[in-house]
Amino acid sequence: MTASVEEQQFTDLIAADSRIEPRDWMPDAYRKTLVRQISQHAHSEIIGMQPESNWITRAPSLKRKAILIAKVQDEAGHGLYLYSAAQTLGTSRDEMTDALIAGRARYSSIFNYPAPSWADIGSIGWLVDGAAICNQVPLCRASYGPYGRAMVRICKEESFHQRQGFEILLELMQGTAAQREMAQESVNRWYWPALMMFGPPDDDSPNSAQSMKWKIKRHSNDELRQRFVNMLVPQAAVLGVTLPDPDLRFNEATQLYDLGEIDWTEFHEVLAGRGPANAQRLQRRRDAHDDGRWVREAAAAYAHKMAAKPAT
């Protein structure tokens, strides 16, 4: 009976667009979905540091180097908030980290693409963070309180990152012929994978309905993808880059952009561990984790000794 009252409370809170908080009762499936989604998001921030950190030592000006370090550091920070949000649901950071390293947890497939060119730092900001924002802005109103609040802070920083990415590309497009080519080549590589970040088409997205009912998710994959392209088209015009979709055009009837066919085979290949950098990304994360073990053990041992020390 009690459960039923609690369940009613939960349903009412959701219906009223109120927030569920850690001590509130919630259905197991809601908790599980959230842990999966939040930890996946946290892992994405952490793995997402890799393609960008690849350019820290080689950033072509000291200003860009400083901006890039700050950005990668923000991502570590986002990872930390999100792990904290997930921990409020009863899963420890160690468990989540172990799942990531063992290859049992997902992170956004986009980070399995490499960043071989400096322009990729621009494209990651403009396209990848841009897509992330489209996905995440609605999450600021996610029904689970700690998640929504983490997203507010993260979205603010992400939109800053997106602008920085745009500026990198703008500087390149206003630069030498080699720089313009560098920018266009990079946009060509990142455009389609960025569109895939919204996930499979609505008719092939089995979990979306429940997430929308729970107000964890508020728009369908295809809606968000459209919103993203709407945002990109005028920005691409300002940059002077061509979006690599010959079929992209504004449809007067629907008042939306018609998109070319997305290569879902590639999407599924990357998801299945056959992308360009899946192995590299996990190896790097595991190595950092393993190499740091003695340090974490030392910190724990020291903390333990200090706690055991009588006050003097």
């Binding site: 030592t57 080689r58 030392a298 020291y302």
Partner: protein, 249 residues
């Protein structure tokens, strides 16, 4: 920003290069730290140092109408003025911390003194930097304690790291003849040693670490004579910029 004299520019380059190269080394670590909190902390420290480097190199550049990037990306090894300590490879985390412990204690005494420089630009840069390197000092000291007093393995590593880093301490406090021309402007390196020792020794004592004895590296960074490591740092740092002469980023 006022225009630096040739001598002041040389001095600003000493300081700027130290911070630039150390920031570059720390930049190699970001996304590879032992825990996420340290990715954030080392990133912060790298950013602070890079900020100091940029201010100092901008100022140095005023003497020759060059900007910070001209100096960072287009000088060759013999024109760099970094001390060998800053050039040392990261090694394991204990080596990173040992290098941070020494460099932050050195930079703290340097900037503390430089706040009173007769050169107002240097004084202003120092006044901002001293607060930041004070935090770096704490960060390194805390980790020194954790590693030296944590586990047997961490202690063994911390002892080795301190002993590997210590040969490079001496150079930081060596007076080049050139410094005589900057009386009242520069902080004479040799005069910072007492304060450095007085600040670092209690940390070592609390960590039950002896001041290492043994090698003293001859150094020479201030005269453009570098460790074998610097060329590799520069090759990587400058590769993209140099592939595109005249480009803006």
């Amino acid at each position: 920003m006022s225009v630096a004299s040739a001598d002041v520019a040389e001095y600003a380059t000493w300081l700027g290069d130290d911070s630039l190269i150390l920031a570059q080394r720390l930049g190699e670590l970001i996304s590879r730290a032992p825990e996420l909190e340290e990715d954030v902390a080392l990133g912060n420290i790298a950013l602070d140092l890079l900020g100091h480097a940029r201010s100092l190199l901008q100022y140095a550049g005023t003497a020759t109408a060059q900007n910070e990037d001209d100096l960072a990306y287009w000088r060759t090894e013999p024109d760099f003025r970094s001390a060998h300590l800053m050039e040392q490879p990261n090694g394991d985390f204990a080596h990173v911390i040992a290098r941070q412990l020494v460099s932050a204690h050195y930079l703290y005494e340097l900037y503390a003194r430089l706040q009173a420089s007769a050169d107002l630009t240097l004084a202003a840069i120092a006044a901002k930097a001293v607060k930041e390197v004070n935090y770096h000092r704490d960060h390194a000291a805390q980790w020194t304690l954790r590693l030296a007093l944590g586990t047997d393995e961490s202690r063994r590593r911390m002892v080795a790291a301190l002993s590997d880093v210590w040969p490079y301490v001496d150079e930081l406090f060596r007076d080049e003849p050139f410094i005589d021309r900057l009386d009242g402007i520069a902080a004479r390196p040799s005069t910072l040693r007492t304060a450095f020792d007085a600040a670092i020794e209690p940390v070592l004592a609390e960590a039950d670490l002896a001041v290492p004895r043994g090698f003293t590296a001859a150094g020479g960074g201030r005269r453009g004579v570098h460790s074998e490591h610097l060329a590799f740092v520069l090759a990587e740092m400058q590769v993209l910029t140099r592939a595109h002469p005249g480009a803006k980023w």
